[in-house]
Symmetry: C2
Subunit: 406 residues, 2 copies
Amino acid sequence: MTKVAIIGYGVVGSGLIELIDKNREKHSKNEIVITSILVRNKDKYIDSSHREVITTSVEEFFSAESDVVIEVMGGLHPAYDYVKNALLLKKHVVTANKDLIATFGHELFQLAKENNVSLKFEAAVAGGIPIIKPLTESLYGNGINSIQAILNGTTNFILTKMNSESLSYEEALKEAQDLGFAEANPESDVMGYDSARKLAILSSLAFDKKFQWNDISIEGITDIDENDFKYANKLNCKIKLVAESFKCKSGIYTSVKPILVDEQSILAKIDNEVNAVILNGDEIGELLFVGKGAGKLPTGSAVYSDLNDIINNRFTDVDSFNKEEANVIKFASKTCNCILRIKTSNIDEAINKCRENFNNIKIIDKSISGEVAIFIECTSEAYVEKFIENLKNEDNYEDAKKLIVA
Amino acid sequence: MTKVAIIGYGVVGSGLIELIDKNREKHSKNEIVITSILVRNKDKYIDSSHREVITTSVEEFFSAESDVVIEVMGGLHPAYDYVKNALLLKKHVVTANKDLIATFGHELFQLAKENNVSLKFEAAVAGGIPIIKPLTESLYGNGINSIQAILNGTTNFILTKMNSESLSYEEALKEAQDLGFAEANPESDVMGYDSARKLAILSSLAFDKKFQWNDISIEGITDIDENDFKYANKLNCKIKLVAESFKCKSGIYTSVKPILVDEQSILAKIDNEVNAVILNGDEIGELLFVGKGAGKLPTGSAVYSDLNDIINNRFTDVDSFNKEEANVIKFASKTCNCILRIKTSNIDEAINKCRENFNNIKIIDKSISGEVAIFIECTSEAYVEKFIENLKNEDNYEDAKKLIVA
């Protein structure tokens, strides 16, 4: 018998409990017993078949017997204290909480080790896609060179709608909120923070180093407008919020930003709330995982798989979060292509400035009054950033921005 | 210390040994010692740093101390006897051998269970793609409804070349052989047997039943010609050898056959020696895995991951091969679209026959003398087969064949 105590009974929690209940027969030899469920408001669960173990008291929750504590409440606090407490009580912990792992991973894994228990987090990245287990177990000993991923379903849904239905950012966000794909306060998703936290976790495992998620160069999708899509279409591209990290000579480049990807590429085919992770390794070459990045049952399934690992005594040492800190690089040493959008009263001068500063430029569009869009090939991202900064300081230039083209 | 004895030192064996040697530092607490390597011809390995443990004597091999026996020689015999012997000697076994698992899985897993050891086979399906572990561990308790996959790199390479370079089947096969992607005797690959064996293994795990691989409806690529690609192109499709199984009311449909897939679909993007597996489940929805299906290091990496599971005491019960036999269905109950190619002296009559027998037909091409290609929508595969059989019995009809359009 395995005694399980669950913190949170929301979307993921109810998916997990559904899977536990559905598979009772499979566990006949080693029954899973839910001994306590900690919630904020007990009234919501009067119809649950588990209502007798539901509690709002933290004290009561931790006094219930349990072998495994599952944290599916989300957010940093009080989840951090609860998980810490569970580890100190020598209970195995399963969490779906990327914020927690990305922010306190080093501390929590250390604590798990000291208390000789396991801390598992398959659901923290890419929901229903098995990615933590492949990285830590299947690809153990492989040299990973790069990660390229779409890790946030909300922004991918918004970008898909903006592209396919020519919606504005605000309209697409509203639709995502109405359908439950975006939260009332979408900041963490649309600003790219959620992707960055997940990227930090994957990078840590892939490169066996500690990553601070806020060291990552992050750009969200809030500034993407209809004209970006217009220019993207001219280049036969789609816009995706790409989370990327790869080895450079001096460190590891990590970034989350909207990128133009060729419409024939695999990433361009990843639409709506779907997630994708592409790993490139010395031994395995390119490996791609695609699936639902969120939702009750996909994420519940990932949590359930962690629980089953613990029940079956399958443990994996995760010490990457306690290794030396990665040297996170903001600008890659390799060259890139980009679109430069310049808002100015003097378009000819702007074009000339580009000609002077870059070797290969191509004017994409001058049809919007007071704006020119220029394709720049084979340049350095740092140099483009500097160029934009300088432009913005000049009188004639209202605004300028770049979009990387993969 | 973990003592490992390896049967075979070919492509996969050398990849595995490279990974073991590369990661010695990571295993400092639990050193991997290769105690014996069984080969056919010792002379080939005089430069190997492991030459002192290389033997051609089966007796000597099995008398060497070992905790794990790794079988990477391939083929049914004598691999079957060696693996059986290892299990009887209570050694954990890792194998990369799909023929072995697909043919003797039920017997070998039973033997492993009786001897309280583990039999692992991640490398047996889709080479470097982690798929056995996701299916047996990450998706445990999930209801899988369907598998759709490209599981054979050789045929996918040949079909890619035929499509992109307008080569004949023979020319593309020759190129695959020259590049080492196809064996001198390519039968098992091009006839679809290799895909069928891998599909049987995946289906067994996904549907928790025993599958006989030769119950699967199998069609290879040897009859695919340039005109098939011509017609496929007219429908904006590519031709892929698709291994597929899905739940029907009366059983499980399983088939390996060349299928026309829309050129915008993910499967159409899987080119050359790459493999892909799409799982569709009640909880996770659609999950896609793409990666190298063969090769020294991708396959070596899969074997190495199994070895690491054993070293870390991570065991998974696999009993699907010993469950009741699946009711394998040859024709799905759902409708399908297809191209019908009819070689006849009387094309008009052939078209009329099609009109009489099928509701929605469209003539794709009549430009080849003595042949007509007709697109048939929403029909039953069994009915088309019967129609073809009847046509072939008539005097005016030289030949007829169908190609399913996804």
